[in-house]
Amino acid sequence: MSAYHYNEDGSYTVQTNCFECHCKCGALCYVNAEGKLWKVEGDPTDPRSEGRMCPKGRSAVKILYDEHRNNYPMRRKPGTERGAGQWERITWDEAMGDIVEHIERYRKEFGPQSIVFGQGTGRGTNQWQHRLGGINGVNHSCWPGHVCLSPEMTTQFSTIGMLNFMEGADFKHTDCMVMWGGNMAWSEGALAAGELNNFRVKDRKLIVIDPCGQAPMASRADIWIRVRPGTDTALAMAFLRICMEEKLYDADFTKKWTTLPILVDAEAETPITQDMVVAGGSPEVYLVRDVNTGELVDMSDSRVTSGEVDPMLDTPVFEMTAVDGRILRVKTAWEALRGRVIDMTPQRAAEICWADAKLIYEAGKLMCESPTCAINMFQGVEENTNARYTIHAATILNGITGNIDVRGGNCWHKCYNDLMGPHLTGGFPDTHWEWKLGKQYAAHYVHSHPHGVWDAALTGKPYPVKAFINIAGNPISWSENPDRVVEALKAFDFVVTMDYFMSPTAQLSDIVLPSAHWTERDYVADEFCQEWIYAQVHAVEPLYERRSDVTFMRELGNRINPEGWPWKTDEEILDYQLEPYGLTWKELVDKHIYAAYAYEPKKYEKEGFATATGKAELYSFTFLSAGRCDPLIRYEEPAESPYSVDDATAKEFPFVLSTGRRYVNFYHSNYRGIPMLRELAREPYILINDESAAELGIKEHDKICLESPDSPHPVHMKAHLTHGMHPRVIIAPHGWWQGCPELGLPGYPNNSANANVLISDKHYDPDLGCAGMRSSLCKVYLDK
């Protein structure tokens, strides 16, 4: 069995995986006898996507051969300004030579920290981009990780040592599917489109939490909670309150496997460690108290997990004598959590969230009482200045309802731990922690915060950054306050962009490199692939002089840091990537799909959680250590909300703005230039409640302007009136820059339709650095 199936006439079919998004649906590529790809269909044998394929994947043929693609390495013509659009074609050797020469020079003069590697959402190559930075001394990773993936990954890895939202949500087997802040049927069809419908046959329950009802998931939900953008923490807290007060939690799991039974100071809610109460005790031992004997036991004692010791959860505050004779007032972390959520009644949450108390209560009951419940959270909760609290609260709920790493709950697929592990990323050298930029914007964000990178480019502080090597990224689209990004890009001495199209970022570069499409490249499909890995083999040889992003990264790494990048061919690097699975690239191609971790539930029972303590740190020692220094959760208004700004601002900007709602036919800022995809959504439209629009004199298809408190200029879009949204909420799409000459549709220069212009770069989640892309304020008016 091979990925390639040849026919007698020379035509062939290739079994591979799509990469029009991270979902990586199984794909069958049909190539005719002339070597031309003529059709792409879903692969019915893929256990995840089962043959489903969205419009993006089906358009791969159009994307592969699109005439606006970058095909050759290009260099800005000497003597012309950046952005002037004057290019000369160069060879790959010249391009590589030029890039290496610049990097060597800056490294010598300004240190390795002056080199910034980055990407956008990337094309499944996060680990190699991290490696480029890490091996070079600092993993700046100038990417939109602060609003995508990292918020969930950091929160979940810190607390439970896994990422079990996203691909971990076991929608296939669950009794209750919770879609929170996303419309996965469109954005990740492989993992949800089928399940959504299978549910209706099997009579399982669907809860959708989304400000927008004009979406297939919300419209089909058994319970749709129309939440005010950015207030999801309050909902999660209300669910936790229901779970705790009505005793619907899994006490056995909570006691044995989480940090919630540990003893904490009743007021400060900091841990009571063994050294505080036992002479000669350790400051690293956290204590639980046995219900029956009152004995203080090390949380990590095997008698806790064996059940010999029964740690108390519910307890009134009690007193203990410290070794220094002080009287300590003590409670459990569980009681601390209860204290945080006790006031969050469904009525209180409904007031905060502009939602319905009865529905909140019903949803909470359903999530807790269903035999299994799978929660998936997406960007809707990540792009808020209180994102850590929301994700943390939902992770606690996932834990205490007994849904971590069980079928039908949220599974632990260990590929994700591998992806971010040192084997591939090379780990973080000591210099990384010293040189990391933008520490002031996020305490627990592991890379340089992009705002810190832009600061350094513009001010030279804390040190100058000189080169930006940007692979599959368009920061002018993905970053908050993109006008400042434009200035920052201009402030770099040297910018390289490797991408499919001449994006606004590519236009401001010195060198532009042509990326190979997924139908032209060999790579391993892993993230979002649950327990499987796949050989994403090329259907056709790269056209023109396009190259795989990984080929470029490997060759560049090999030239500048050969000790960390020893591989001479793509096959060698893919062999290295697959080494932990005892597999070579050729073997994977033969198999096409390989179960890297055949699913086993409750792996923590054998190996503990992949956290520092081996427990699910739902009371989090990590989050206690820096940033907000809060080990638990609390409700915090979005930094820019009707209730957190002054009255004059709230009056001038009366709408809550949520940006970045996904299209089924575009991937971020890609593909507005592919005519067949652009036909499905020709222009950028905001969604506004019809009654609110009427008050402002705005009619369907009217041209409108949006402004926010910090926007340097208005954003121009069109209005779509909907009755389904809260009258004070506006939803605006992101990613609009490209024109489509075939349809006579112009581009949108100077960020004129870029939703991120409206997003402030003054407010971030203090723990994770998330910007408020889903919860800002705006005003809207007719574009005269």
Binding site: R58, K62, N197, S219, R226, L359, N665, M676, L677, L680
Partner: protein
Amino acid sequence: MATKKQYTLLIDLDRCIGCKACQLACKIENNVDLDVFWNRMNAVGPVGDYPNMDYFFMAKQCQHCKNPECVKVCPTKATYQSDDGIVLIDHDRCYGCQYCIWACPYGVRTLNPKTHMVEKCILCAHRLEQGLDPACVVSCEGNCRFFGDINDPQSEIAKYYSRNAERAFRIHPELGTDPSVIYLKPRKGASRL
């Protein structure tokens, strides 16, 4: 005597997620020009007041009527019915008079501005000849489309239809066109349908 074969397209709107894969697969399979659509996915709603709102998706294409108005009005007999019950257009005979566009009650015919001929869904007749289902059927992400001979009680479509007959409807049955495209009403989100 065996019942006559009747190709039928059954669309279960309860399963449609509005992903437009059908619309795009149709264009790619049939090389449909830009600005011409043989198949369109429309969103209906939202109407009502939160949380009791209706919103669903409705894909529409040629209904392949058994009693088609378009065939009656075509002056050149370019539009005709095949033996399997498919309505087709012979482009050697069409000269773009557009009578059929006016006559069709379903608004699913388009004049191609480039060729000046009328186009519409052909149920992927070229695929049917090879024993394959139409592209929109195999591409559907929600698996909401069923295709086959509804007069064959053993066919998947006949079985699915009989299990869900209480939700079945045709568009504008009062016109007597007797479409071969049957819809199944959504279980949720279409209380006003």
